[in-house]
């Protein structure tokens, strides 16, 4: 839609008011009510004015940017992310019947086993106190035992938010201590893939 010259001049007047953050007078307000384009443009001008001088300071330090950009500079890690698989639960100690004579109650630990192509992951959830648990486990190559990938990494995740990271010991072990009780996920980066493991809560 084309603007008339009068609309354009009125808009510039509105712009100056937006820039100077001053109230609109009666004439300007009346014009604004009859000019749809001006209303739209005044809106973005006010938002731009609201960004203000701070906008030029929203630039992270170079060292911080470098760390972020560095994440994507490893093509093999990027491709690892492409091969994401969800591991299958194959054992859950909570699903086993309690031996006759055993009282049911709040369990102090829960053992789980998961399988993904080529790997098996054992996980132990252990209650530390009423509010926290420890999450530990071992990643095994189905054929050859403990995983031997020095770059392997395990992340503890909740709803897309990565809380903690751990590398694997030479025996493929990892541990996260004093984690608030709740449902989590594990993301294990190893070899050419990323294995996702949805973990239940220790009370579930």
């Amino acid at each position: 839609m084309m603007m008339s010259r009068i609309d354009h001049i009125a808009l510039l007047s509105l712009f100056e008011r937006a820039r100077l953050n001053t109230e609109l007078d009666g004439t300007a307000q009346a014009h604004l009510e009859s000019c749809l384009i001006c209303r739209g443009r005044l809106d973005w001008m006010q938002v731009a004015t609201g960004l203000g001088a701070r906008e030029l300071s929203y630039e992270p330090p170079e060292s911080v940017m470098e760390k972020v950009l560095q994440l994507g500079r490893n093509p093999s890690r990027l491709r690892q992310l492409r091969n994401a698989v969800v591991a299958l639960l194959t054992f859950d100690s909570f699903k086993q019947l309690a031996p006759a004579g055993t009282r049911s109650g709040k369990a102090s630990s829960r053992q789980l086993t998961f399988e993904a192509p080529d790997v098996e992951v054992g996980v132990l959830l252990r209650r530390s106190d009423d509010r926290t648990v420890s999450v530990s486990g071992q990643v095994l190559d189905k054929a050859s035992g403990p995983i031997t990938d020095p770059a392997a990494q395990v992340d503890l995740v909740v709803d897309g938010d990565h809380l903690m990271s751990s590398s694997l010991s030479p025996w493929g072990e990892f541990v996260f201590s004093a984690v608030p009780n709740g449902p989590y996920g594990l993301q294990i980066y190893l070899l050419d893939q990323m294995v996702e493991i949805p973990l239940p809560s220790i009370d579930e």
Binding site: E55, P61, V64, L78
Partner: protein
């Protein structure tokens, strides 16, 4: 070439994410630069300090990197990034004894871990302005930044001098740049 001759920086978020997963590091750089100011601005608007902002900024991008595979099918990466950044701000500010006075985000925005609709709308509009300004010519970018972002306002004579223009023609340049930005924002779907 999968996306023809279009420059990497012109690709959509979904295309860039797919390219990242194909091992293209440049796609990651473009994605990060596209949302740098938006993400880095949120902790400041929340009233947090520079050190916190740096930590939150890095943490949001780490999450994004590690979730790239699941973001392939997401409609709006921007909304996801904002949600993660706000959630981290919320957790950071919960550990502070009192909130600083100089905050742009109001109390209702602080009420939950998830950003309010109003906040998301405002951040969306600010981001569209950034994108629009980024698409202007270098000269127009200088004019718009001087008009809206410099404090104190340098004055038209100083802007004209910087651009090598006469004081008489700066008004015309300003009008043209504002007009161009307005049109770009309409094309980008800016809604008021």
């Amino acid at each position: 070439m999968q996306y023809g001759v279009r420059a990497v920086r012109d690709r959509t978020d979904a295309e860039l994410i797919q390219e990242c997963l194909d091992g293209n590091s440049e796609a990651w750089e473009v994605l990060v630069h596209r949302y740098t100011r938006l993400i880095y601005s949120i902790p400041f608007k929340w009233g947090l300090q520079r050190d916190d902002a740096m930590e939150i900024f890095q943490s949001v991008w780490l999450d994004c990197f590690q979730e790239l595979h699941s973001l392939r099918d997401i409609d709006r990466l921007q909304a996801w990034l904002v949600r993660i950044a706000v959630r981290k701000c919320y957790r950071f500010s919960a550990t502070r004894r009192s909130r600083p006075e100089d905050v742009e985000i109001n109390e209702t925005d602080h009420a939950s871990e998830d950003p309010s609709r109003e906040l998301v709308d405002r951040l969306d509009r600010e981001q569209l302005i950034r994108i629009g300004v980024g698409k202007l010519t270098e000269r127009c970018q200088q004019v718009i930044k001087a008009l809206f972002f410099e404090d104190p306002f340098p004055g038209y004579a100083a802007i004209a001098s910087r651009l090598g223009l006469s004081s008489n023609s700066i008004g015309f340049t300003r009008d043209r740049c504002l007009e161009r930005l307005g049109k770009l924002l309409e094309e980008l779907g800016y809604e008021h």
